[in-house]
Symmetry: C2
Subunit: 217 residues, 2 copies
């Protein structure tokens, strides 16, 4: 299955770049009315309105593995998600919310995961006033193609049964990785668990790794 | 000195909230033409165009301690920064860049720190596809008023002379803090330094702490 990206906003270019770097085997279909026309071995552009079913079908939305909706307008995003979910009950649907109050409606429309991008810019501008290194580190951690470090999610299997402190020391010593958080089976995140927290089989870890990837153009 | 926030965008509300939570002693003056009129003990709204000197003076920009510029338009931001810098050579000026290519011009106009918010949304949308816990953790870490954890910058004094591994273990055991990065004197960030990295007096640390603050309304 391919990935359909609906809409063209100032986030789309980096979205495509990150998906290319991390899911290089997935073909990407861009569906929008106004973005640049990109056609490579792995990317196809389809001209069409993400809020129209017939245009979604041009992008084979019904056969997609994942659908990412970022239209720059929450009401359009909701309509696009509703149609996409109707065409494709199985696909993973990720959508951007510009306003906090639209997170739930977009989820109700059928999105599995909603990313609220509105708050983050304000958070980072504020941090730049009183702790300027923090927004720089966060921007680095958020991107796998920029900067020197990256947060990745991985199974905790090899650390199951150990305490967080034991795992922290072992991961740092043997692999130079920094364990940052545990993700429970239900998705709950325990950031920086207490030293004696015991890691369970089935937990996932969020790990800070050094990024050795060359910056892609 | 007070903080002047120029412009009103979808980032401004959270920006104000974070500044209130972290710099509660600083009065905030909002300068814009179209935001809500907020008047509290600690916030004043001034109606005016951030790109006009006479309006900047209405907000006492010349006496400000810090100026944050987020206009939603990089060319307006540049003009606002140029005037602000001319009126106030000493103030800390933080500005938002919407496009990556405008980071340098905004800095040249006189901003001390430029936050590029355009890339981050795309990074987080992409991560939501292949590692959904990561954008949730990043959103939490970026905000000190939302979520359960926070990244803060603090002097490394008490760990000077120790290796990163020693400091990592001690901070986790005694204070339940997670050391994430070292910031050198020149601002260079070493994310997750090697185990034998020796912390110097004058280094700063970026630390993940549990957030005990009540969510503000
Ligand atoms: Ca990175
Ligand atoms: Ca937080």
């Amino acid at each position: 299955g391919h990935i359909v990206i609906m809409g063209w906003t100032r986030h789309t270019e980096r979205l495509v770049e990150e998906l290319r770097a991390n899911l290089s085997d997935k073909h990407i279909v861009l569906l929008n009315t106004d973005g640049p026309v990109i056609r490579t071995a792995s990317i196809t552009t389809v001209r069409g309105d993400p809020t129209r079913t017939k245009d979604q079908l041009k992008a084979s939305t019904d056969k997609a593995w994942a659908i990412v909706v970022s239209t720059g307008d929450d009401s359009k995003t909701i309509l696009a998600v509703l149609h996409a979910r109707r065409l494709n009950p199985q696909a993973l649907i990720v959508a951007e919310a510009l306003e906090e109050e639209n997170i739930d409606p977009i989820r109700q429309a059928g999105a599995d995961r909603v990313v609220y991008t509105g708050g983050l810019g304000g958070d980072l501008l504020a941090s730049a006033v009183f702790e300027p290194s923090v927004p720089r580190l966060i921007a680095d951690l958020a991107s796998s193609v920029e900067g020197i470090a990256d947060l990745v999610e991985e199974p905790a299997t090899s650390y199951a049964g150990k305490t967080f402190l034991e795992a922290l020391v072992e991961a740092k010593k043997t692999e130079d990785k920094l364990l940052v958080a545990v993700v429970k089976h239900d998705g709950m995140i325990i950031a920086s668990p207490p030293p004696d927290y015991r890691i369970e089989d089935g937990d996932k870890l969020i790990v800070l790794v050094k990024s050795h990837r060359e910056k892609s153009s």
